[in-house]
Amino acid sequence: MSEIKVLVVDDESDFVELFIKRFTRRGFSVLGAGGGAEALTLLKGVAVDVVVLDVKMPGMDGLETLKEIKKRHPTVQVILLTGHGSVKSGIEGMSYGAYDYVLKPFSLDDLVERIQSAYHRRALVGGGSGA
């Protein structure tokens, strides 16, 4: 299996750095972005399998970013991550095509598994970072 390419998007740079460190150690190839607009620019140039996206961000928020990602890259899988989960944002997120909705704090092993099954789905729908 080739390396799973993950993009983590969060406005807290400490979180992004830590995430990259921890998940790179787990064998993923991880990129970081500090906001929705930056994430979309990155996605134009780099093939990514799974985006881990914070819901609450200043400027373009997680749901807006999700909509744009799904419009431009329908096979890329998005896992929404949130510290302030709300039922409303959960319903919206799922209906806009998010793969999963995970509450912070998360356990590393748990999120690793979720990223792997999101990647599995990406492979099933005919996408793949090789493309």
């Binding site: 999700l66 909509k67 744009e68 990602i69 799904k70 419009k71 329908p74 096979t75 989960g85 709300s86 039922v87 959960g90 319903i91 799922m94 209906s95 806009y96 095509g97 998010a98 793969y99 999963d100 909705y101 995970v102 509450l103 099954s117 599995h120 789905r121 099933l124 729908v125 005919g126 996408g127």
Partner: protein
């Protein structure tokens, strides 16, 4: 003889006209002529009785057949109706989305055009300040209402979109628990307790994000039914033939009998205008049917409502699965 046999059963009205009857009557007459009146009378009575019984039976069979064909054509009409509604909804949603996009852009442009007036306000013009406040307010309202419209068109498109499941092996108990955990925070705030009754489930293949959407929707509905607090029971269990069942039951006021057969209709809602589009359950049912399962509702007076999702061991049809990539989550 299965189902009453060939003479009287399935051929219905024909049975009464079958050549057996003249024969029997003839035999009765013959018996009356040859063996005296009594055995003949008995035979005639017996023949009459058989005739009466046969006609009753065939009338019943006819009625049953009619009911069955009614039910079938009702189902057919229902599914055709849903398909037509889906097309209509998608058509309207697409048409409305374009002007909504233009309205949004114009409102944003208006906001930009206000910048010189803002400069005048900074220079101390009270007229500019009042004018600005009113305009900003108006633009804000336009944006809010546009968002409301796009929420509706998004749901209409979601309803109209063909459900194309992508099947993955899934731990359904975990999936359900994720959604329960998400809802629980808000439930606690409104004095609602969620009781988990998870059973041992076989592994199934299903579409996890689609199922999450349905479970979350049902939990959200249950919460809305419990405005004054109560309990939500979430049960999962293995069912026959490797199927699984997920039940969300609340202790709310329940669903009036007159509404029970309408709640899955698109746009049917009992919520106040602006509070719900009436598409949540319609979408949920479409998704579950697309996964190869069923979504049903039960309600007893004063005993709350229960929604049951039944899913097969493996989801969807092969054909639908192959089209997953093209249709899946295109972000409308």
């Amino acid at each position: 003889m299965p189902d009453g046999g060939g003479l009287l059963g399935p051929s219905g009205p024909l049975a009464a006209r079958s050549p057996v009857w003249p024969l029997l009557l003839g035999l009765a007459a013959l018996a009356a002529a040859t063996a005296g009146p009594w055995p003949g009378l008995i035979l005639a009575l017996a023949a009459g009785f058989v005739l009466w019984w046969a006609s009753r039976r065939s009338a019943g069979a006819l009625r049953r057949a009619r009911e069955e064909s009614c039910e079938l054509s009702e189902q057919l009409i229902q599914s055709q109706k849903m398909a037509a509604l889906g097309e209509l909804a998608a058509g309207i949603a697409h048409e409305i989305n374009n002007p909504l996009g233009i309205i949004t852009q114009e409102a944003e442009l208006l906001g930009l055009a206000l910048e010189p007036v803002e400069a005048a306000q900074r220079d101390g013009s009270p007229l500019a300040a009042a004018f600005l406040a009113e305009l900003r307010d108006g633009i804000g309202e336009i944006m809010r209402q546009v968002n409301r419209c796009s929420d509706i068109t998004h749901k209409m498109l979601n309803f109209a979109r063909k459900v194309a499941p992508v099947c993955q092996p899934s731990d359904v108990n975990r999936l359900v628990e994720d959604m329960v955990a998400l809802v629980e925070r808000e439930a606690t705030k409104q004095d609602t307790r969620i009781v988990r009754m998870y059973g041992e489930l076989p592994r199934v293949t299903t579409d996890p994000p689609l199922l999450r959407q349905v479970v979350l929707n049902l939990l959200n509905n249950a919460m809305q039914a419990l405005e004054r607090g109560g309990m939500i029971f979430v049960t999962t269990r293995a069912a026959e033939d490797g199927q699984i069942a997920i039940e969300v039951r609340d202790t709310g006021p329940g669903i009036p009998a007159a509404h029970l057969d309408k709640i899955f209709n698109p746009f049917f809602t009992t919520k106040a205008p602006g509070m719900g589009t009436g598409l949540g359950l319609a979408i949920s049912q479409r998704i579950v049917v697309g996964l190869g399962g069923t979504l049903t509702a039960q309600s007893l007076p004063d005993a709350g409502a229960a929604f049951v999702i039944r899913l097969p061991a493996t989801c969807g049809g092969e054909g639908e699965r192959r089209h997953g990539a093209a249709d899946q989550g295109t972000g409308h």
